[in-house]
Symmetry: C2
DNA sequence: TAAAGAAACTAAAGCGGTTTAGTTAATTTG
DNA sequence: CAAATTAACTAAACCGCTTTAGTTTCTTTA
């Protein structure tokens, strides 16, 4: 059986309270007793039971992180940002992943709340069938929470980039290259990000007097396979093929590039492809990807900082909306439009 | 303040014990009381405090996962395997990452033990300065533990592939392609995996009467940048350049391919490159990588299953060494040796 | 129908800490 | 030097559960 605070108290001939005081570095005992206790602690290699502490203090020094996909390279960097910050500040992080399912998201929130995490970092889904009742409850209770993204009609702490503007920039870039038939492999069921990016896409077209062609907008899952399939389908038609496509994220773009490759449509000579996220691999891929940089690590970092700030000040209701800077990363997957293409 | 078991007990006019019994689905109360309690629980939306439960039962239903690098794509899949299995079995996972530092590994082990995780999944480092005293202690206490890999001289539960054999296979493949001057960008400071792979490399050369050339073996960090630098250095010499190189992992291989690309040395025409891990991206990279498949997801899964099995049977000392199957994945980064090369 | 046995129920102790309130000892102060 | 402060220390309550041991109630059984 592990050694407890009572054991130490007896061994050092003091009360449990005294031991607790020195454990927490609080005033209230003489230097003599303090060092006596410290000695016996060291001697018996005692370390306090965190669970018991949590029960008594009502804080667990842990937070929950709910991503959408655990093995998505974008979230890998978010996760690292969260983890690094937590480690520094003495928090642990409990893993969660909704795997793009709303019911799971809810389940996980409840599971983590059951574990009494001190706060929650959520990358929220947003489907038609989303149930955000839980958000209302958390907000009502002023529960420490920051969203990695946002949810319509809910004012919470959040950190994100301006997805609308970023998409607008991406598409504007394609337009500047001379493209007029620009498609969008859009995200959709899985988040507001998708919707915002779609809006940015449309706005950029509008502002440049380009018509929105419904056939040029198709929803995909945010992964390589889905990008591949959508690409094959889109480019298997014969007329009016797009000369550029703006992808929901880099994974989709990679899938698309592969589809085009398989169909012997050269990128970027015949079609330009632009991604989103700037995941680590996007520069090493067959055609190094032009993309929008999401500062994933920094998002994780500042979201965590904000969350722990809120945990530390349970009184005041924070409501910070942090917008990080995005950036267009130009690599090799986009080229100037030239006449006489597919 | 949150509602507690005592509140429910009062509201339902029964004892705390009765509520506890129905919470845990144990026999000892009448159907009438059971449903009465269930009703009030639902009515007041009560959910038990997991921390208190943990303290009372001495189990937290959580495990710790210690990876080497949190944003390494290999670990991403391990993590997913672990997470999926844990979710299914009602466990949560606490994140840990040694970031290739032995001191950190130790710190994290202690931090997680402090949080009273029920078991530990560790991808262990193995440096000269490793301190494995902690392993001895855990082993002595029969603490639930499984290594994702192994540590010299310690018999623990573990799951891994046969790194020696896998490396042997990789190098044999290169030899079969006709290569004689085969280099190795070796891992080293970070794990036994590196050493085992190096041994496999040497053995394969030996068995084929190829001399081991010290200049052909250089240690690298397991990342793209390090592979890139080592590649530049190795191929900036003028004589006796290798015609093939076996890389510690895919990241290193990707770095190397990039270095070669920059030096205008065509892959695989002039030099063949083989990786290790088969990370998700290795097939989408400039030159789709020939590599050794590590079943990362399955490793995570079976390690977790084993760990939880051990947690469930605290009596018997398990000592299972699970060796997973590896596989050579042939893609485009290796070619037959032809005379007249660099 | 009384005695024995089983089922339903609960009081209280315990998990390992923190914290409040109170006691004792040491130090100031008038 | 007695009274008042202050510092050091500790007993006991508490956090929210589980579990043991014991009590009460209900069935059996002879």
């Amino acid at each position: 059986m592990r050694i407890t605070i009572s054991d130490i108290a007896k061994l050092a001939n003091v009360s449990k309270s005294a031991v607790s005081i020195v454990l927490n570095n609080k005033p209230g005992v003489s230097d003599k007793t303090r060092s006596k206790v410290l000695e016996t602690i060291k001697k018996y290699n005692y370390s306090p039971n965190h669970i018991a502490q949590s029960l008594a203090t009502r804080e667990t020094k842990s937070i929950g992180l709910i991503t959408k996909e655990i093995n998505n390279p974008y979230f890998a960097n978010v996760m690292k940002g969260v983890y690094d910050t937590c480690s520094q500040l003495g928090y642990s992080v409990l893993l969660g992943s909704s795997e793009l399912s709303c019911e799971k998201e809810l389940e996980i929130v409840n599971a983590l709340l059951g574990k009494r995490v001190d706060g929650l970092l959520i990358s929220p889904l947003q489907n038609e069938d989303s149930n955000f009742a839980y958000l209302s409850n958390l907000l009502r209770d002023n529960y420490p929470l920051v969203l990695l993204g946002e949810v319509k009609n809910y004012a919470t702490n959040s950190v994100d980039i301006d997805n609308f503007a970023a998409a607008y920039d991406a598409v504007s870039y394609l337009i500047k290259l001379g493209h007029k038939r620009i498609a969008h492999l859009a995200g959709s069921v899985h988040s507001l990000h998708g919707q915002k990016r779609l809006e940015g896409y449309k706005q950029a077209l509008n502002d440049n007097n380009l018509a929105i062609n419904k056939n040029y907008i198709v929803s995909v899952e945010p992964n390589i396979a889905s990008g591949f399939n959508a690409g094959r389908q889109m480019f298997s038609k014969v007329v009016e093929l797009p000369t550029a496509v703006f992808c929901y994220n880099d994974l989709v773009a990679i899938g698309l590039v592969n589809a085009l490759h398989q169909m012997r449509i050269p990128v970027p000579e015949k079609v330009s492809v632009i991604g989103f996220d700037n995941i680590d691999f996007s520069q090493y891929v067959q055609i190094p990807l032009t993309t929008i940089q999401m500062p994933a690590y920094e998002i994780g970092k500042s979201a965590t900082t904000l969350l722990i700030k809120q945990i530390a000040s349970p009184g005041d209701v924070l409501n910070e909306k942090i917008i990080m800077r995005h950036e267009l990363i130009v690599r090799n997957s986009c080229a100037k439009y030239k006449k006489g293409r597919a």
